[in-house]
Amino acid sequence: MSGIAGTKSSLTWAVHLSLVAMVLLWLFPTVGLFVSSFRTTDQISTGGWWKAMSSSEQSTTLRTSSPETQIGKDGVFLIEGNLFDEGSEAEISVWGTSSRSIDDYKAGDTAELKNGATITVAANGDYIMQSTETLTGKRGQRVFVTALTPPEFTLDNYKNVLFDENNREGMAKAFFNTLTVTIPATIIPILVAAFAAYALAWMDFPGRALLIAAVVGLLVVPLQLALIPLLKLHNEIGIGKGYLGAWLAHTGFGLPLAIYLLRNYMVGLPRDIIENAKVDGATDFQIFIKIILPLSFPALASFAIFQFLWTWNDLLVALVFLIDSSGETTVMTKQIVELLGTRGGNWEILATSAFVSIAVPLVVFFAMQKYLVRGLLAGSVK
């Protein structure tokens, strides 16, 4: 029965399997990054993100309250309290008073300290430290606990990365810098390309075919080829390094594809509609604004998504045309590269920073995905 239109191919299972594989391939790192960005350093170092939902055994060093809080009563001096922060549901299994033997005692046991005092630690972290003499010292007694900690998620990473004004490695500034680059670098080429595409699709003028051929030719020119001459040009005409230069560069590099995509879409619009508008008395500009632009929305949206995504993720153009020695105009990609160097071990910071930078593309992608597909298919499927 294979080969008959309408019957399911026997390879459907292969399609489904590869689809599942692709979905997993995409989901695994994304979800991992997302979950990691809500975990603490300790949690990340004790187990992978897939263990985030189950309790984990963690060994930590905690301190009792300082001796200043001791209460003297009947010749006995007491310090009471809980080792954990308020609201913690961790459960202590074993503990110790020396870093060399952190599992000497079980929960509920009493340990004798060097200075003659005793300390009893309960499973929930409650402790009583008592001594017949006045306890001295500035800091509290160290207690090494191994506790079963229930899953815990924290927004501290985001607070640190986004809202801590003293954090010079924060992403907030870089985030807005990236937006400042991306939004004009998306809008300008679309505006220019839409006009060009209409002219190339529907207006008769000598040399039109040559222009189209030139646009197609420019599609395959590597971006790197133009970096140095362009930067030189920018410096000579006084733009230098800055947002304007980055916008111009992104516009230039995006235009060939934009014009090509939009022209292909517009040329597929029915000729009758445009001719009818001409008979109705519309000028070329009115046809463009009132007929072509609304009808080309899927193609415009699809190119906008592309241009947005790759200017958002761009590092090369930003490094060459934007970021100067002051570092005031650094973008997120550059910031993450730097974090990799300075904070290579702090996975929670890296994960959070990375997720901040992919959050916007994710939102854009999910909100606009139907246009992405529709615009891509433009001109290829009739």
Binding site: D272, V279, P294
Partner: protein, 365 residues
């Protein structure tokens, strides 16, 4: 008054591909002119030249004496209905109809009045706020027509407006267009079709286009009764007119022609001059004019190869007279059973017999 005049109009593509040559046509106010012709004869091109969507390569086109060759479409006072309707898909019916009026800077009140009036006439009132994709084919067609009416143009151009409709709707819409024309006696319409039923029923005059030029212009019945040439004779009427080769044996008020195949001699009411005696001609007889006869005065006698009983008529196909000729067809009134493989002697009345020499009708000599 709206006179369209085409003088020696020609259309050439890329300098050397002739599409139309020597088109001379005078269209008067209130006429409904239909362009017909086989596909590729340039009828749509001619219409688009009138509309201003194609440039006129040579000659002159005037409306009311004013040269239109270089005038942009919008300023020619025309409205056009396209085969594909060409509705703006992103606009409601109301916006579609008001588009041209808004461009012409009419006031909202004027636009509203015009649209309400036209929507009432075409029964579109309840669809005004719908998008074209929510309309049926017939409704879209009415919107396209309505959109041209609201502009109140001097000339309406229709480019095969019914060819995307199904058969029943086509008949209904054809009648609507005929009524529309009647309600607007002052407006001039030019209508392109390849359907000769539309042409015959709608036209006040038909222009038959063939071989890059005009084959004949005339009222539908003129074309049917006195075609100027073999092309028009065969193009108008269905099935096409039979052409039988023969030789003139007697000239005068009526002409006697002896047919090459079938040994018959038939009289034609077409008068001929004496010098035509012995000339080779084609005798044209429409299938519906061929009558079975038993007398001695007949055109030919031949064997029936195929018969098609349609009820009201029976179409019979005679054996081909030579391998490369078309079969002769006769349309016999009523039902004729078991005529296949029988031989039949056919004749026609003298005034229904056309004579063509070198493709041209002797009627106009």
């Amino acid at each position: 008054m709206t006179n369209l005049k085409l003088t020696d109009v020609a259309k050439t593509y890329s300098g050397n591909i002739d599409v139309l040559n020597n088109i001379n046509l005078d269209i008067k106010t209130g006429e409904l002119i239909v362009f017909v012709g086989p596909s590729g004869c340039g009828k749509s091109t001619l219409l688009r030249m009138i509309a201003g969507l194609e440039t006129i390569s040579d000659g002159e086109f005037t409306i009311d004496g004013e040269r239109m060759n270089e005038m942009p479409p919008a300023q020619r006072g025309i409205a056009m209905v396209f085969q594909s309707y060409a509705l703006y898909p992103h606009m409601t019916v109301r916006d579609n109809m008001s588009f041209a009026l808004k461009l012409a800077k009419k006031t909202p009140e004027e636009i509203d009045t015009a649209i309400t009036k036209v929507a009432n006439t075409l029964q579109l009132t309840e669809y005004l706020d719908r998008l074209p994709k929510a309309l049926s084919g017939g409704q879209r067609q009415r919107v396209a027509i309505g959109r041209s009416i609201v502009r109140d143009p001097k000339v309406y151009l229709f480019d095969e407006p019914l060819s995307n409709l199904d058969a029943a709707l086509r008949v209904a819409t054809r009648i609507e267009i005929a009524q529309l024309k009647e309600s607007m006696p002052e407006s001039t319409m030019v209508y392109v079709t390849h359907d000769q039923v539309e042409a015959m029923t709608l036209a006040s005059r038909i222009v038959v286009l063939a071989n890059k030029g005009i084959a004949q212009v005339g009222t539908p019945l003129e074309l049917y009764e006195t075609p100027e040439n073999e092309f028009v004779a065969q193009f108008i009427g269905s099935p096409a007119m039979n052409l039988l080769p023969g030789k003139i044996v007697e000239t005068g008020e009526t002409t006697q022609v002896s047919l090459t195949h079938g040994a018959g001699v038939i009289a034609s009411a077409v008068p001929t001059a004496a010098d035509l005696k012995g000339a080779n001609v084609n005798v044209g007889i429409r299938p519906e004019d061929l009558l079975p006869t038993t007398g001695e005065n007949f055109a030919f006698e031949s064997k029936i190869e195929i018969s098609e009983a349609l009820g009201e008529v029976t179409q019979v196909y005679f054996k081909r007279q030579s391998p490369d000729s078309a079969p002769v067809i006769a349309k016999l009134l009523g039902i004729h059973r078991n005529v296949r493989n029988t031989s039949m002697r056919m004749s026609a009345e003298a005034d229904k017999v056309h004579l063509f020499a070198d493709g041209q009708s002797l009627h106009y000599r």
